[in-house]
């Protein structure tokens, strides 16, 4: 049999074919040896290790300096979340027990951050046991367990980063997180509950990392909240700072006094809608106002607004 090598006259077709087979087998053996030195192309996971920083686009204002007060757009919030956000007085962050509260897991990736990611491997077989992350903004650490361990029981404590397990779907790392502490989705005061669960997808293309979150919250969201943000691999080291938060009496006040607005009394609730000339109903509309089908309604509301 031949392997595609041209038959020549001498030394004879059969002889050439045998040599061709030998050559091919030798080549295959060589390639196979080389393959042992290389990551298996079909089975090896993408390498997500490295120092990543935010790549900002039109979402800069949202991810970095933060929301204008009264910005509730793009979040499928329900009535409970609306009431919570309406009552939110931002000066609450001066309350002693609130001062050092960082962002929780679904919030921090949406804020300004740089993070370092690395693998923890089983020394016996080099299987990846976990992915570790250090998130610099608030010096937070996170573990994504890859060894199939179960999530803790329901009565276990919650943390800001939650408990995460992951698996590879082709070249996408999919992560599931539970046991997350209560915090906010946005700095405008949209709350996230401690019943929140998050599915993440890490998608790397070259030096870009797309991070997709699908957030489910039975308390404050009417449907899953889908967010994506981009990160880029840094060639030079992380510029993380050290965040040694200290509790002090920032603004003289009763220690147990927690600022909040009574229903209907928040004077800043329409700041965003007034600033951008948007109908408040649309700004606080939640899921209904998030999709293209809502555009005729916005047009109608704008036409009704006093010029």
């Amino acid at each position: 049999m031949t392997f595609g090598l041209p038959a020549t006259g001498a030394p004879g077709a059969a002889g050439v074919t045998w040599l061709g087979s030998l050559a091919l087998l030798s080549s295959l053996a060589l390639l196979g040896s080389l393959a042992l030195l290389l990551p298996g192309s079909a089975l090896a996971q993408l390498n997500l290790s490295g120092e990543w920083t935010g790549r900002y686009h039109e979402d800069t204002d949202d991810r970095v300096p933060g929301d204008v007060q009264g910005d509730f757009t793009g979040v499928p919030l329900n009535d409970a979340a609306r009431r919570y956000a309406e009552a939110f007085d931002v000066t609450r962050v001066a309350v002693l027990e609130h001062q050092c509260q960082p962002y929780n897991m679904p919030h921090i990736y949406r804020g300004p951050l740089q993070f370092r990611m690395w693998e923890e491997k089983d020394p016996a077989n080099q299987d990846i046991i976990a992915y570790r992350q250090y998130i610099g903004t608030y010096m937070q650490s996170r573990t994504i367990w890859m060894d199939g361990r179960p999530h803790p029981p329901g009565h276990a404590p919650h943390t800001h980063m939650g408990f995460s397990t992951g698996r590879w779907n082709g070249d996408i790392l999919t992560v599931y997180t539970t046991h997350i502490k209560k915090e906010f989705y946005r700095r405008s005061g949209i709350p996230s509950s401690d019943l929140t669960t998050v599915v993440e997808h890490y998608i790397r293309r070259g030096n870009l990392l797309s991070h997709v979150m699908i957030i489910t919250d039975p308390v404050y969201l009417s449907e899953p909240y889908v967010l994506s943000q981009e990160f880029v691999l840094m060639e030079r080291g992380n510029t993380n700072w050290l965040y040694n938060c200290e509790y002090v009496m920032e603004v003289p006040m009763d220690k147990n006094d927690v600022p909040h607005y009574l229903p209907g009394a928040n004077p800043f609730i329409t700041d965003f809608s007034e600033k951008f000339g948007l109908p408040f109903e649309a700004v606080i509309g939640g899921a209904e106002a998030m999709y293209p089908e809502y555009m005729p309604r916005i047009e109608a509301l704008i036409n009704e607004q006093a010029r």
């Binding site: 300096p65 933060g66 740089q114 608030y138 200290e246 920032e250």
Partner: protein, 143 residues
């Protein structure tokens, strides 16, 4: 010791501060992430207080200077003046010992949204005793 309340839009001062904000972004500023300044302070207004430093809290998430100073009506209050975090301040030559209790200072900044809080975010500080300054004097003009 006095207070001047300036309700003008502090446009030029804000313009000069933009590079500082950008720098804060580049150094991954947790203080900016912590809460929105625009939601806490009336950034379109300025207020000036002059009084005695009671305490300088040089810490994360943000530093504070407490100043005993009168309000518009001459009533004394303990004002809370919000400043930047230690990482930013250190880079600008400010340390934990820069201000001491007893220092007489004049501070200009954006007032808090609730006047009852007697708080402001620092834009400019002057210590007349030795001329130490921080920030940009809103009364200073440039040709």
């Amino acid at each position: 010791m006095s207070v001047r309340v300036n309700r003008r839009i502090a446009g030029r001062v804000f313009g000069l501060l933009v590079p500082a904000v950008v720098l804060a972004v580049l150094v991954d500023d947790g203080a900016l992430a912590h809460h929105s300044f625009a939601a806490t302070y009336n950034e379109d207004e300025t207020i000036t207080i002059e009084g005695t430093v009671l305490q300088f809290q040089f810490r994360n998430p943000h530093s504070f200077v407490h100043v005993q100073a009168p309000d518009e009506n001459g009533e004394m209050h303990r004002w809370a003046v919000e400043w930047a975090n230690p990482s930013q301040l250190t880079g600008q030559g400010v340390g934990a010992a820069t201000l001491k209790p007893g220092d007489v200072v004049r501070i200009t900044g954006a007032p808090g949204r609730d006047p009852a809080d007697h708080r402001l975010v620092l834009r400019y500080l002057l210590r007349p005793a030795d001329g130490y300054e921080y920030g940009n004097d809103p009364n200073e003009t440039f040709d």
